[in-house]
């Protein structure tokens, strides 16, 4: 296959991945890595490197919009970035020494888990009262919701911090944003309102990915020729996806279909990992 043909295929696939990632809220990396490895037989290290770069592009682009709206809690983001960057550092170092088929299996498991989590409906919880640590760290905040300002407190800072180390490590190991894990840490553990936790998670993904990207870059995992169509494609797809989300009110069935697609990809990755094909 010539470079031109491969670049076009990867570009179109990445557009699709970006679209899917933005509609399901799982991020582009989850589709990119199976596509590159399973369909195009690209080495998983190159796939992870390219995915990581696309994750930085989409999360920075989306975070720019959210930050301006004033929903993102920058103090929560900044504080938890200590955990995610440290985790990402460890995850990337681990990736250098672990066998590729084990990475594929872990990828499949995390992918299946994230798809399942995105299916579960979130029950809206009442804003909690902030804990002592949250007060000391000035994590409690407020966000605009229509005309009113909703105040919220943050619970269980330590537990959330630990969960974030894990989320960062998975992001560094697999080259994904691991937004689903970040949202669990903030939503379920720290009781941060859903709107704030999703946007703040997005805000953190870029820095987390950058912490492991600096390692991948120096090891040659980020190939310019391959990363180019991936970054451009995923970003274009994510932009289209965000426009669709604004214009269609009931994207429920769409999400359902995509979640099934993603679950199938997860099974494929695990199977290929176990049989040693990756």
């Amino acid at each position: 296959m010539s470079i031109l043909t491969l670049t076009l295929i990867v570009f179109i696939g990445s557009c699709f991945a970006g679209l899917l990632g933005s509609l399901t809220g799982l991020g582009g990396g989850f589709v990119i890595i199976p596509m590159l490895t399973l369909a195009l037989h690209i080495n998983i290290h190159y796939a992870i490197g390219a995915s990581l770069v696309s994750v930085i592009a989409t999360s920075s682009g989306a975070a720019a919009a959210y930050v301006k709206e004033g929903i993102t809690n920058m103090r929560i983001g900044m504080f938890l970035e200590i955990a995610t960057t440290a985790g990402a550092f460890a995850g990337a170092m681990l990736a250098l020494h672990i066998q590729t088929h084990i990475i594929a299996i872990i990828f499949g498991v995390i992918l299946a888990f994230s798809a399942m989590m995105s299916f579960l409906k979130k029950a809206a919880t009442n804003p909690a009262k902030g804990s002592f640590a949250a007060k000391k760290l000035r994590l409690n905040g407020s966000y605009p919701n229509g005309d009113e300002i909703i105040k919220y407190g943050v619970r269980n800072v330590g537990g959330g911090f630990l969960m974030m180390i894990f989320a960062g490590a998975i992001s560094g190991l697999l080259g994904i944003g691991s937004g689903a894990l970040k949202v669990i840490a903030m939503d379920t553990v720290m009781r941060i309102p859903f709107k704030v936790s999703t946007t703040t998670s997005n805000f953190m993904i870029g820095v987390t990915a950058a912490a492991s990207a600096v390692i991948y870059l120096q090891r040659g995992y980020i190939d310019p020729g391959l990363s180019m169509p991936v970054v451009i494609g995923v970003l274009a797809g994510a932009l289209i996806g965000s426009k669709i989300l604004v214009h269609t009110r009931s994207s429920g069935w769409l999400r359902g279909v995509f979640t099934i697609v993603i679950a199938l990809l997860a099974v494929q990755m695990i199977y290929n990992g176990i049989t040693g094909k990756i």
Partner: protein
């Protein structure tokens, strides 16, 4: 009487929003430009990504800068990618400056700690 404008979280959010947007636009533009040059020059060569080949040519700034002066497409793309990776790191630096203006010493320390972890990561790569 006009109220004196004080630097607040809101201003920082707006500045950071712009920083992120500009970073993505500039770096992706560079990647697209390098990509076009790359395809025009090397489009017909057979692609092979099945095996990992190890460390390529353009990784450290001196090599990339030399590559850009030689108008090497892969070096131009790599420069765009590095700028993209630097965007969220720059955001951390800007946050630290913002917290400094707000005199929020706890969060200056937290921002610097995040930077320190990224720098550690950079040197152990």
């Amino acid at each position: 009487m006009r109220e004196r404008h004080k630097f607040k979280d809101r201003d920082m959010q707006l500045i950071i929003g712009w920083l992120l947007r500009l970073g993505v636009i500039i770096s992706v533009s560079i990647v697209i430009f390098g990509g076009i040059v790359y395809l025009l020059r090397h489009g017909q060569i057979t692609a092979d990504y099945t095996t990992f080949r190890g460390v390529p040519d353009f990784i450290y700034p001196p090599g990339i800068i030399r590559g850009i002066f030689d108008f090497k497409a892969r070096a131009i793309i790599q420069a765009g990618i590095i700028l993209l990776i630097a965007t969220p790191v720059l955001r951390v630096i800007f946050s630290a400056i913002g917290f400094l203006i707000e005199k929020d010493y706890l969060y200056i320390a937290i921002s610097l700690l995040v930077l320190l972890i990224i720098i550690c990561s950079m040197f152990s790569g």
